[in-house]
Symmetry: C2
Amino acid sequence: MRLLPHPATEDIELTEVLRALSDPVRLQIALRLSVAGEMNCTTAGDDLGVHKSTASHHYRTLREAGVVLTKQEGRLKYMSLRRADLETRFPGLLDAVLSAAALHEAQAARDQRVAADAPAGRPSGVEAHAPV
Amino acid sequence: MRLLPHPATEDIELTEVLRALSDPVRLQIALRLSVAGEMNCTTAGDDLGVHKSTASHHYRTLREAGVVLTKQEGRLKYMSLRRADLETRFPGLLDAVLSAAALHEAQAARDQRVAADAPAGRPSGVEAHAPV
DNA sequence: CAGAATGTTTGATGCCCATCAAACTGACGT
DNA sequence: ACGTCAGTTTGATGGGCATCAAACATTCTG
């Protein structure tokens, strides 16, 4: 079992983590990892709608930002969130991001069902602006 | 007193917010706003080390992402964090980011003092890796 | 050993972004 | 009106990033 190169906990940078999580595909990967714990890359990347080389690029970005830990076992690679390290360095951050992402995903799924039920309906209350 | 165009609370997107805060300059602006409350752009952008047009670009990015609210009063523009809106949409997120940024900034300042005291010293414990 | 499975690496492409400089706009003071 | 102040807009530039396709490396299996 080999470990790929990762940044040390104290070298994880806030802006890098935020940038890593600001991509929809990578956020989705992180969300899946938070639900399923350890996953291999194929499982994590299934149905992401991107080419496998693109997914591989995202795995690397997440790893180099310090968001995930990757270890190789045989011909498979397993990723997991660096929960403890991130909690040490940026308390509450990962949970806040993942909770928000989970809610957002649930809402998106709801919107899609509504759109399927009433394809010509209004766009789900987006016109009710109240920016102040 | 005029209000500039902003996204509605329910239209603020997580990935946009994360991307907006993943730039060091914008994170610094957000941090200043969190300490000082409402600020005009000149005050907020002082000593950021970027050209005023670059700063203006960052103000717009923060506004369009839904992070700040901008209102114009005479020839000045005042920005403030959309704390309540962000808390509604992404509970705990902004506080986690700002706390982490504040700590990180304090650490950076400490590192700089240490570097000034011992310019040829070791690079402040970076060699103590413990990635597992 | 041959072949399949699991990712990674290497171009190539197109887009977006951070930055600066210079011109511009809108409001205020004299 | 004239000049100034505060900030925006408009190129221009350079760099990075997301994506795909194709070739590659490594490991397991028949």
